[in-house]
């Protein structure tokens, strides 16, 4: 019975995702106006689908199929074991330390707005940090660089307090909008760190030049620091100055990892299958390129 339900839901997921991710292909095929002839039809078909992006579309479709396959396998009872991610395991330790020291916990959700997926990923981690802080009765501060992020963070922290069974301890005054200006925001955060000396600092979201300023200030005040970003250029700074860092894809996997739900963990497994395919295609590509150059060198043409 459960397998049949899993089958049904898996099929539903597959059909939904096929509808969402391959809409462009369907439109490209269906939209070709059959009644119109010759060049007009070709022009219309061209307008419906950008053939220059066919390769990208195929790559997206294959990667999406892998992820959905991972979800389906998880629903059918397949293994969804995920390796331990130290940075996420450290959340409880960091918040616990802040509680013992009687100092606040600082959470920085990056400097981008809610239309950046890194900010959304950061907000999902905030949910877990806020729940732990509510359970331990620690003071959580969330200064934001965007008004919309402030609103989303307030909703998330409030939900976390409800989930922890302590709605009375929620205070929206601790989640504030500071400024959109990058270095104005950094100046505020640096000052706050030096004055309030938070015992734990979380940096989760999109960061640019400010990453090292924040991480070094946190290091100087002796805070335990956990960072997560998908900005490749900022990762070395966080690795150098923070205690734990979520590197790129780990940051996106955080939400699934923390939820512990089979569907979500299955998507990470699917993501890994996609990564294997990419690695295999790189190896095959390298081998083919090497063979071609050797053949050219020795064969002449």
């Amino acid at each position: 019975m459960r397998i049949r339900q899993a089958h049904a839901s898996a099929l539903r997921i597959a059909s939904l995702s096929a509808a969402s991710m391959c809409a462009a292909i369907a439109w490209a095929q269906d939209a070709a106006p059959a009644a119109v002839d010759g060049a007009v039809a070709a022009e219309a078909a061209k307008a419906w689908f950008d053939t220059g992006r066919l390769g990208l579309l195929l790559a997206v479709a294959v990667a999406s199929a892998c992820i959905i396959a991972g979800i389906v396998i998880a629903r059918l009872g397949g293994s969804v074991r995920i390796r331990r991610i130290a940075a996420l395991e450290a959340i409880d330790e960091a918040v616990g330390r802040a509680t013992e020291m009687g100092r606040p916990v600082l959470f920085v959700p990056g400097i981008q707005d809610m239309n950046d997926i890194q900010t959304v990923a950061g907000i999902t981690v905030l949910g877990r940090v806020a729940k732990t802080a509510a359970e331990y009765d620690a003071q959580l501060e969330v200064p934001t660089a965007r008004s919309l992020v402030m609103t989303a963070a307030r909703e998330t922290v409030q939900s976390a307090h409800y989930a922890a069974g302590r709605p009375e301890t929620y205070s929206e005054g601790r989640i504030n909008y500071i400024t959109d200006e990058q270095f104005g925001y950094v100046a505020y955060l640096s000052g706050k760190m030096v004055r309030d000396k938070p015992a734990a600092c979380f940096y989760m979201g999109a960061f640019y030049a400010e990453s090292l300023v924040l991480a070094e200030n946190g290091n100087a005040i002796g805070a335990i620091q956990v960072a997560g970003t998908a900005e490749p250029s900022q990762l070395p700074f966080f690795v150098a100055a923070c205690d734990y860092t979520l590197l790129g894809e780990e940051f996106f996997a955080a939400s699934a990892y923390l939820s512990g739900e089979r569907d979500q963990l299955g998507s990470i497994r699917g993501q890994d299958i996609g990564k294997l395919l990419v690695a295999a295609s790189i190896v095959v590509g390298c081998a083919m390129a090497t063979y071609a150059s050797i053949a050219l060198a020795f064969g002449g043409s």
């Binding site: 990667a63 907000i123 999902t124 402030m150 939900s159 409800y162 400024t179 290091n219 699934a256 979500q264």
Partner: protein, 233 residues
């Protein structure tokens, strides 16, 4: 149901439209419309943000909490820029409509708004950015401590890159001919090799992982599997 179902429906719809707009020129305008929805929501919440800023700082001033003077400066600067911007004080007249005061450009240095930005905001921002050099130095000092094998490799690599960026590279290994078999011992060649092959390979691996992670996250949101960003019902 409505508190979670409607946001997921909106998210799936907008996600699908944006994916379609990327691949189909015909639907590009639909994607632009969806992005405009975001701008509208962001503009409304900007009022919330400004209100929150005022509230927090006014409360700090009225209760004379430590650092209240900084809040007073923040409120004064906020009000001044608001007045300068809205009233376009000192705005340069628009050549096409010189008689219409509000048609003037307020972002040039001649206007009060532009002057404040150019001579107050920009230097302050540059000052904060310049501090980065010292933070880089202190982070490098800690990261390059040769305490284990990995740190030793990092230290040696950093040393090669650092030397290759200076005249020392020319002085130390510049005498090795570029067409010799020992070209690889030149510091500039080693530096190029590290950046183009080792660092690029590592960075590409991270970037591919990020792309797949972003796709998986988007799919989880669009399919309503991950609802952690939504308020609990």
């Amino acid at each position: 149901m409505f508190k979670r179902g409607i946001p997921i429906a909106i998210l799936s719809l907008t996600g699908t439209l944006l994916v379609a707009a990327h691949f189909s020129p015909m639907t590009q305008s639909w994607g632009e419309v969806v992005l405009n929805w975001f701008s509208v929501v962001a503009a409304i919440t900007a009022i919330l943000g400004a209100g929150n800023l005022l509230l927090v700082n006014l409360e700090k001033i009225s209760s004379r909490r430590p650092g209240w003077a900084y809040s007073a400066i923040t409120i004064a600067a906020f009000a001044a820029m608001l007045v300068f911007g809205f009233l376009k004080i000192g705005a340069v007249p628009n050549p096409q409509n010189p008689t219409v005061y509000f048609a003037g450009d307020y972002e040039t240095r001649e206007s009060a708004y532009g002057w404040m930005y150019e001579y107050v905001m920009s230097p302050l921002t540059a000052t904060m950015f310049a501090l980065l050099a010292f933070y880089v130095a202190s982070a490098a000092f800690r990261a390059f401590r040769a305490k284990n094998i990995e740190a030793n490799i990092l230290l040696v690599t950093a040393f090669i890159i650092l030397l290759a960026r200076t005249y020392a590279a020319e002085l130390l290994t510049g005498w090795v001919p570029k067409d010799s078999a020992f070209f690889f011992v030149r510091l500039d060649a080693m530096s190029t090799g590290v950046i183009e092959h080792v660092a690029t390979a590592g960075m590409r691996a991270i970037t591919i992982g990020i792309a797949l992670g972003a796709l998986a996250t988007s799919l989880r949101f669009m399919l309503g599997i991950d609802k952690s960003y939504l308020p609990r019902s």
